[in-house]
Amino acid sequence: MTQKLSAVRYIKNNKRRCAVLIVSLGLCFVMTYLTQFLLSTTEESFRPILLENTKKLQFIQIAGSSYGLDVDNTNQEEFNRLWNEKNHELAKKLETHRGIKKAYNAQILWAVIAPAVGNMTYEIPLVEKEEIPVILEHFGAVLSEGRLPENPGEIVLDGATMKNQGFTLNHYFDETNYGKNFKIVGIIDCSSYFGCGIPSDNNRQSSRIIVLSEDIQDISSHLKQEGIEVRENYDSIVDYSWGEEFFYNEITAVLGTSSSYIYVGIIILLSVSLLIVYTMYLRDRRNEWCLYYSIGYSKTTIYFSIIRELLFNFTAALLIGIVLIVAAQWILYAVMIEPQGLKCKYIHWKTIGQILCTYMLIFGILQIPVQYALFKIRTIDAMEDELYS
């Protein structure tokens, strides 16, 4: 069999050098991927709040002026009475709409979810005791620990929020903001972050209308049917169309931009450092290739042996990278993501595509020193001429 220049010979005898290339390539793969993985805890944790909760529950807060109430010339007590009346009226009307199961006048609590980057608040509806099983059933949540709220100021909360915020059963909910007004009496199991409870005795003012609906995307159109034109600066609507817009414009886009900057930074750093290191490696091998060329190997044969070595290094880097990523994801999930009640996404096809493109780009960039090294190959006589000239 005609002998080709074996890449294995070099790799086998230069493990340390190859390891440097493999490890640096592999680590960049790992860094790029894990950055995306960690950022995904933000995206994946916010996704159910903005895209799942909002399909099942909508929160409406209509300003008094939007109802036509005279804010300036009515005293506070009277205004509150009229505003509550209007809210009740609107809730009753909305209940008659197709797709709306229930509409309550209710209070809300704000719960916080804090992933690796950023944080987000979501609404916990506070309703009458008998409505709690209805809401939980509508939400697909089941009680897993403790009991359902029975008295004013008692709430149930999902396990993930409990972990994320360090709450424990039978302790007060967010004491910093709400004092000792709300106590967690039960933990629920559900696919998203969610909770509900009974209003505290200290405040019975119902500021929101909570709508339990079957996949209503835009509640504003229902309000319009009742003669209420939603005004952006006065009224507050939390529904799917708002959640979707917020998720894609504020979360995905911002995180996408951040990860792009990180990704470009890694590529530049990797390309420059690899180019320098690889050029040094190639320079050290000039005599070897001049010898091969002198004893009859063609430059094409030498080129393909270099390419085979590079391909081996790149493939090894990818495989080692995959192993490290799986291990790192497992560790991060165990020590950080799961204990904090966060959600994450393991497979990022776009990032994998980006990494493969980066590898191809770097492979292409490394052709520059390779081609230069080939250009510098001389026969031994020319090397000796160089040596003595």
Binding site: Q3, L5, N14, C290, Y297
Partner: protein
């Protein structure tokens, strides 16, 4: 085997005072035997060897190898010739630093199969390198052992012509004669061209070509010179 006609090699072609490494001479070399090319530095002996081995192209004149003019060969044909029919022992041995002695020999093998390492070991053994040395890298070998490895590499394809440029330069007297004996044995069936400054190592040569200033100053033929 080689027929050389009016071979000329000029360095610094662009300058007005041209340097003639080979000043235009004729020479015929046999199919087998040990041929020594001797002369002081700058006499053109290395240039002649490189021209014969296709590493350099002469400025003018013809070199016929088995009737084929080397200057007319395509690059691929020249590479094939160097790989299959010629063997090289360079002045600086040019062993691959990260390869063992055996691998340094097999790397030059035109064909590689499971017997190739055994062949390499046999060659090294014939050249006096024991099995302890086979796995060592060049940095762990003595000057003589390196040179023997380089000779084994040159012989792995059983070339018809073996070019040796100062093969004994780095060796002591005893080793030098040992190496020359090996080359002499190889020259029984093939042509071995040895370039040297040292007359003493050519005592067993079949012919000696003396060079001076790019010309042949004398050719001595005989069984023992």
């Amino acid at each position: 085997m080689f027929e050389i006609k009016n071979i000329t090699m000029i360095y610094d072609m662009e300058k007005t005072e041209k340097i003639y490494a080979l000043a235009g001479f004729d020479l015929t070399l046999p199919d087998r035997g040990l041929v020594g090319i001797i002369g002081p530095s700058g006499s053109g002996k290395s240039t002649l060897m490189y021209c014969l081995s296709t590493l350099k192209k002469p400025t003018d004149g013809q070199i016929l190898y088995n009737g084929r003019e080397l200057a007319n060969l395509k690059d691929q044909e020249r590479e094939a010739l160097r790989r299959l029919e010629f063997g090289f022992v360079f002045q600086r041995h040019f062993l691959v630093p990260y390869l063992s002695a055996v691998d340094n020999v097999t790397v030059a093998a035109a064909k590689y199969d499971k017997n190739t390492p055994e062949q390499a070991k046999q060659l090294l053994s014939n050249l006096g390198l024991g099995s302890k040395e086979w796995g060592k890298r060049p940095s762990k070998l003595s000057g003589g052992q390196r040179q023997r490895t380089a000779i084994a590499r040159a012989m792995i394809n059983n070339p018809k012509v073996l070019f040796a440029d100062e093969p004994t330069a780095a060796l002591d007297h005893e080793n030098a004669f040992g190496v020359m004996k090996i080359l002499k044995d190889y020259a029984k069936e093939n042509l071995v061209i040895v370039i040297t400054h040292d007359h003493s190592i050519l005592k067993d040569a079949n012919s000696i070509i003396e060079m001076w200033d790019g010309n042949i100053s004398a050719v001595k033929d005989g069984e023992f010179i």
